[in-house]
Amino acid sequence: MSTHRELIRRALGPRVQFVQGDDACAYGAVLAGCTFFAGYPITPATEVAERMAEILPRIGGCYIQMEDEIASMGALIGASWTGAKVMTSTSGPGFSLMQENLGYAIMTETPCVVVNVQRSGPSTGQPTMGAYGDMMQARWGTHGDHEIIMLCPASVQESLELTIVAFNLSERLRTPVLVFIDGELGHMRERLVIPEDHEFELWERPRATDRAGYRPFAPGPDLVPPFAPFGSGFRTFVTGLTHNEEGLPRASSATIHDQLVRRLAAKITNHLDLITRYEEFYADDCEIAIVTYGITARTCRDVVEEARRRGIKAGLLRLISIWPFPEHVVARWAERVRAMLVPEMNLGQIVHPIREAVAGRCPVVLHSRIGGELHTPAELLEALEALQWQPA
């Protein structure tokens, strides 16, 4: 008899592979213990679903192709309440359709991971091209007050690793976690080394142990309520309406609503130490900083190296976790640098929380590129040099 972990290893294949970012997200999910995927194929995210469709039946998991993305999120939430680790993948148009149920997952504290392989919008836009146009939709796309967690990988290897992290955060904090890549990274192939089990941690959602007097939404000391899956004999009631700790609707109570929604936000913002991730290059003596994320950060690494060769004290702050926004990290950079350049593959989205964090301490210059092509090293170097000569 093979163990489940052995089955996973066999289904994933050789330890070193040359695969796409999409594939790596699927591999990361499977390594994290994902056994349920519901989704609707969409370019450039289809390969995530394809890999899950191949692997899940071989490891005793379940893949369902749904009729649309609304239903995909619905199926995800239901499956998660059986205790399974669950994921879906999509791109812009599908992510738009997922917004309502994303909010339902937040309100009902349902762990789930959503991979968005972004393409250009609005609407169906440019299906085969990469973009980062959904960064703000991820934050505020579903209605109401809430926090969301989003991770932004920049390589195929990191797509695998951060998908595992996404599952860990989602389970630990009982909240949806978003992994955002783009069509370029999704379809880009690189060397991928599949980590051994001892090379990464796996976190599980907190489990309820005491059936008597169980209140499904009574938080533990870390504000996360212990979970009891459907069918386990614990009395559970789940609703998107404002609810009390029994899970029963109390939609007219200002006090209960205030307590619930503040707790849902605080269980995330109280755990920034678990969530916040970033990478710094030449932080010590940096005068002109590039602040960016995702695939664009790779190009910026080259640009900073070239700028240094030309005598410009450039540096790079690569944001890996975007939401909750790592405000203190950006603020710390703003104390020291003369200017910030923010290249984005959109018309300016993350530049807004950056400006909020910088709070006027230095100029923040947006460098937008849309249409599906990446920023070139030459154009970013030129933008950096222009900032170098700008009077302080």
Partner: protein, 175 residues
């Protein structure tokens, strides 16, 4: 060390497959850093197809190619569009049966990949003939790595055909 290779032609010739095999040879079998990207039209066949492979011995930042070290052109359109986007001293490999008009001032290595593949019994391996030629001319990957990556990327019943296509390509480049 950094080699930037652009392989282009029209959809259906297997230019993306060729690039994936080359990248796999470098990344999985030669233990190098490699990255492969592609672009293609919505058509299944006939549209312009382009794939790029970067092979290096260090981490790769910008995942694209501005000027190539090696260009493989398997159509007139591909040649006309990309023959200038190369570094000085770049290797240009063309299929002379598909590229009719070219800049005589730029030396090319003609490899009759489609004809050679036809003689081997199936034009579908023209891309593999080109890979054999490219490897013999540039040494960006080892012949052993290329063979291993090719054989694991094709169905079992086509392995022998692909092995012969690689050899024929290597011969055509050195002959």
């Amino acid at each position: 060390m950094k080699h930037e290779i652009r392989i282009c032609g029209f959809g259906g010739q297997g230019v993306i497959t060729a690039a994936v095999i080359l990248g796999k040879a470098a990344a999985v079998h030669d233990g190098l850093t490699a990255l492969q990207v592609q672009s293609y039209g919505p058509e299944a066949r006939g549209g312009a197809a382009r794939a790029e492979v970067i092979i290096a011995d260090h981490p790769i930042g910008y995942p694209g190619i501005t000027l190539a070290d090696v260009l493989v052109a398997m159509s007139q359109e591909a040649y006309s569009r990309y023959h200038r986007a190369v570094k000085p001293g770049a290797t240009l490999i063309i299929d002379p049966d598909l590229v009719f008009q070219r800049d005589e001032a730029r030396p090319v290595v003609p490899v009759r990949a489609t004809k050679i593949a036809e003689e081997l019994g199936n034009t579908v391996v023209a891309n593999i003939v080109m890979l054999g030629a490219l490897t013999a001319l540039t040494g960006v990957v080892s012949p052993e790595a290329l063979l291993a990556a090719t054989l694991e990327s094709v169905p079992a019943r086509f392995r022998e055909l692909n092995r012969r296509a690689l050899e024929a390509g290597m011969q055509a480049a050195s002959g």
